[in-house]
Symmetry: C2
Subunit: 640 residues, 2 copies
């Protein structure tokens, strides 16, 4: 037995292990989160830890520079413990925050896209209005001859002011009532929520001069990343925005591993806690602090997530979702009080969940398909959400069909050794001189030295490497030169920036494992497109428009995405990047009851195609794992 001490985030975790055990497995056993998106096969190089004391049997890999090795940096997934050791573990939340890409309306471009979506929704006749309002009422103080209790006094005043027939009080409002009335001389501002029966529920009461906004919380709960908005329920304005990683990541990068973990003793509580306490609550707190309000001033919440995320968020037993015949507990769920999920918002704040329509097409897609507006057009369109799972919706104002495929985190900047989110220093577009093989790239923020590559940059790099014939259709390196390097196993790598030209201590490069991961991701998306269209006897020529959503970012070069065979080869003008459609759709559901009703309606009518049981899907996938495709005729615009 040896003793392993993990130092993480200022605290220490101790666990015993057998000599020779894998460090990554030990960490998982101890619930210590180590960033390991490739699930521990030494490919991605993300599971870096620092050996502070003791002995690890840990080879130096290409992900660790000489200097770093000397400093103690190791990859956890290839390390075995040989003695008592003390290991420093980088904070995974900040690792994810700095690496994974989520469209969170933080850039001017994303904000513009978001506002366009809002305008389009309004133009389609889906008006703002969520039943929440405030009213200010001034009353006489009670006297010996006027001894009406406080709640009746306020109810009367609200009835006079609003014409409501019935007024009720949430417990929080009742609890504050006596004090607030007396401290503000019976001149108060009430937060009202209209109920289905037309009555008004007083959710809160504050002094009349209070200007605290009536806030709502929007969450896009992705498998990897979480984006959120704090919204003013009275006018729809955005009070704050934030994004972070999904705290469940330590239990697996994909939904399957997390469901398996949730089925273990206490697992569903662990998974729920991870996402609530490490992701949603901190986001809400961060935004409330930015907006200068309290968590209790959040009176409603709307969340869009995939079916598994929804189930794990609620702490449900989720094994039936992953096992034949793939049955979720719910598609549409009655409103739940957020307090049941240990969220410390207003205790009567309801959680509205965007409805699921299948085990693998969830609320993120129903909300996203709503935001894409393809239900409002006569022409046939395709909506593609590029997340850890890729989901597609095809149809028009008469029908909608959906399907899902597993794409992995490549589109969000994961699974790629030098991948990072689209922030300052990220290579976001690139060309390669086909003769000299020298790159020319741009970085976000126009920094002189790059830090890594974001999603749109990776598409460009692979497309350019392919066009310059540096890699072949299988993603294997075919040319040699100062930018191309092969390791002892013959695995090729293209150096985009040499160490000395970067802000880091390593070369920025893309290798065959990265390219292979990406090709499989794009192959999944493309074969899903073909299979779904094919199931209706159609092909991409029917498409009038393709809407791309997800964390890949507004910088995506659609031409290059077609070049590598990710998107169908239609006229480039017909592609649109629509940002985080899940977040936009959830925003609409929170702020507009009409939008909510429309999403529910779409969910009821949308059909679901289960790809895994669809004949031909696997063949189609294998055929698509090639640049641009094994059937070049599908990509006439691409010169091979």
């Amino acid at each position: 037995m040896v003793l392993i001490t993990f130092k993480v985030n200022g605290s220490e975790v101790n666990i015993n292990a057998n000599k020779g055990d894998h460090l990554l497995s030990i960490a998982q056993r101890a619930n210590v989160a180590i960033d390991a998106p490739c699930s521990g096969n030494g490919a991605c190089g993300k599971c870096r830890v620092k050996l502070l004391k003791g002995e690890l049997d840990s080879p130096k890999t290409r992900h660790i520079s000489d200097e770093e090795y000397v400093m103690g940096w190791r990859l956890a997934c290839v390390s075995r413990v040989m003695s008592d050791v003390v290991i420093a573990v980088p904070d995974i939340a900040s690792a994810y925050r700095s690496r994974m890409r989520v469209a969170d309306i933080s850039s001017p471009k994303e904000l513009e896209i978001f506002n366009n979506t809002r305008a389009e929704i309004e133009a389609a006749g889906i008006g703002f209005g969520n039943g929440m309002s405030t009213v200010t009422v001034q009353m006489d103080a009670p006297t010996r001859d006027d001894t009406m209790p406080d709640n009746e006094r306020v109810a009367w005043a609200i009835q006079s002011a609003t014409g409501a027939e019935k007024v009720t009080f949430t417990f929080l409002a009742l609890k504050k009532l006596a004090r607030v009335l007396r401290e503000s001389d019976f001149n108060v501002r009430c937060v009202l929520e209209e109920q289905p029966d037309g009555s008004q529920s007083v959710m809160d009461v504050m002094p009349a001069d209070s200007t605290t906004p009536v806030a709502g919380l929007v969450v896009d709960l992705g498998t990897t990343s979480v984006a959120a908005l704090l919204v003013n329920m009275e006018d729809g304005s955005i009070l704050a925005k934030a994004s972070t990683g999904n705290g469940q990541i330590r239990y697996g990068a994909d939904v399957i591993n997390r469901i398996i973990e949730s089925g273990r003793e206490g697992g569903s509580q662990r998974l729920q806690k991870a996402v609530v306490e490490e992701s949603i609550s901190p986001l809400a707190e961060e935004m409330c602090a930015a907006a200068g309000i309290g968590m209790k001033n959040i009176y409603r919440m709307c969340l869009a997530g995939n079916t598994t995320m929804n189930h794990l968020l609620l702490g449900l037993y989720s094994e039936p979702v992953r096992m034949e015949p793939y049955i979720p507990t719910f598609f549409h769920c009655d409103d739940i009080r957020t307090s049941m999920l240990h969220l410390r918002l207003h205790p009567d704040a309801k959680l509205i969940l965007a409805p699921n329509i299948g085990s693998y097409v969830g609320g993120d897609i129903t909300a996203g398909a709503f935001a894409s507006m393809l239900w409002n057009k006569e022409e046939m369109s395709l909506f593609i959400d590029l997340g850890t799972n890729g989901e597609l919706v095809f149809g028009n104002n008469e029908f909608l069909m959906s399907c899902a495929c597993s794409a992995g985190p490549a589109f969000e900047g994961g699974d790629i050794s030098c991948g990072m989110r689209a922030t300052d220093g990220a290579i976001d577009s690139m060309t390669i001189d086909p003769d000299t093989m020298e790159p020319h790239f741009t970085t976000i923020g126009n920094t002189k030295k790059p830090v890594g590559i974001c999603g749109s940059g990776i598409i460009d790099i692979i497309a350019e490497l392919f066009k310059a014939k540096i890699i072949d259709g299988k993603g294997k390196f075919r040319r040699e030169g100062r930018r191309v390097r092969f390791d002892e196993n013959g695995m090729g790598e293209y150096i985009i920036a040499f160490k000395e030209d970067t802000r880091g201590v390593r070369d920025i490069s893309i290798n065959e494992v990265d390219i292979d991961n990406f090709i499989r991701a794009k192959g999944a998306i493309f074969s899903a497109t073909m299979t779904m269209l094919g199931s209706m006897g159609m092909d991409p020529s029917v498409l009038d428009h393709v809407y791309v959503a997800g964390g890949i970012g507004s910088g995506i070069n659609m031409k290059n995405a077609v070049t590598i065979g990710m998107l169908p080869d239609i006229d480039l003008e017909h592609f649109s990047y629509i940002g985080n459609s899940s977040l936009s759709g959830a925003y609409a559901m929170l702020t507009s009851n009409a939008a909510r009703q429309k999403v529910d309606e779409l969910a009821t009518t949308m059909t679901y195609l289960e790809l895994s049981t669809e004949p031909g899907y696997m063949d189609s996938f294998v055929a698509a794992c090639f640049l641009p495709h094994t059937n070049a005729n599908l990509f006439p615009s691409v010169e091979v």
Copy 2:
């Protein structure tokens, strides 16, 4: 500075104090509960503690025998700390449990009264029916061709079985659904709660063969005592019953002191916690254990308490209740989820509160007046609830009027040095030979040796002492003999049983302080009766019936109660003891929606007379503090 260590209930509390400080005040500062109903003037002798170490300046009083004094027993209220001390404190909850009397349907007589009340309510057309039911449904397991999610599957089955148009799920039911369905082969029993819109809410789901009852909780929350029932919501049968003391007692014996405490920093939380964690939750747990069910199987709760108890239970800011112009936060309160009060019942279990109608006439009285059935008779009746507060309702099927007075704990066995609850060994009736002054008494359980005196015994003793002219109209001792003893201050005492004839180590006696406490209590009740009737230009001759409720017990001798001037001098046949009417009324409200509606209706129409501002009430009270009354004409049947 000296260090005081209290040992209570197996734990230790340490606090510093100044030499010479009163031990009782130190205990109150340290939140250590010492039974002190007389609020520390050395009168009642209840605040017994045991000195384990150190020095107390503490005179031996008549409440402590020589043997006890040697063993270390002292009265906390007359003790001053002279050094570091270690003090053992008897558990106050058990002290109250063994002393204070609450009508809790635990005796066959009380059960009979309770069942009579139930029958009368039914006979008045107030039918059983609370919208809770169970339904057992058998479904097909999902297959590849039948992938309906679990909640829709169950909803469909319930709709088919019940005809309900809409079925929703509470979060708890949703959370259990997937597992219970699969573990019980899709054959389940659902607990349903009908909603105001006619839909059925699935509150719980269990295997079809489960026989767990759908339980409801009834609580009579008194200032001093708490009684509770666990009820089967489907048939109204009683699953368990229990009673205990109100854990708030340590913050004051009366409502005023508790409100003052609740106004202090953190006070409302402390008061709420005391009653929830020390009284209601333990009662519910005890009854659930007895009935073999879980706390989560309690799906609804109804509580009747006075206005202050209701406010403190909810943790409200209650100062306005005790201060001019006496304004509560609410009379009628919308249903509250019990989980908001930190009660760990079913998380969606609603709390129904019997409505208040004034700052000093609360839900115990609206529920009690309902159970008294005086609203269903043409004749005028008076309903008197003898609790720590005395409340009265007068009227018939056309009008109801109520008022309240402060009676203190005398009727429940408190404030009386040898008072105890009506259990084995309690003297419950007594006569005194006027010549020999020798007593003849009966004890509950016919025990040979008595332990103390319960409420009905005290009425008899005072009436008999008065009839035998051992005491005069002022309650002062006038005769001498072996049974009568005077202390150094000339204060008289009557020995009912000498030490050697008791099961304890002290004489069982009643002294002038006890008698004075009781005379003030009965004086408050009688003057309230006269003032209320007088306010309508009436006197007791209009009364067709007097209903007495409260902890005084079914053994009450109405003739003697008239003799001492507690009840008006009307024909004895027209008195009824109706037990714990607050508990019976709350039971009816829990199990019958019609009863609930009727109580709300009574509360809306009942008028409230504020005695403290009624001219003449104080004079009337002073005149009534005499046996039977300073105006003997009011008691023609009593020989003076």
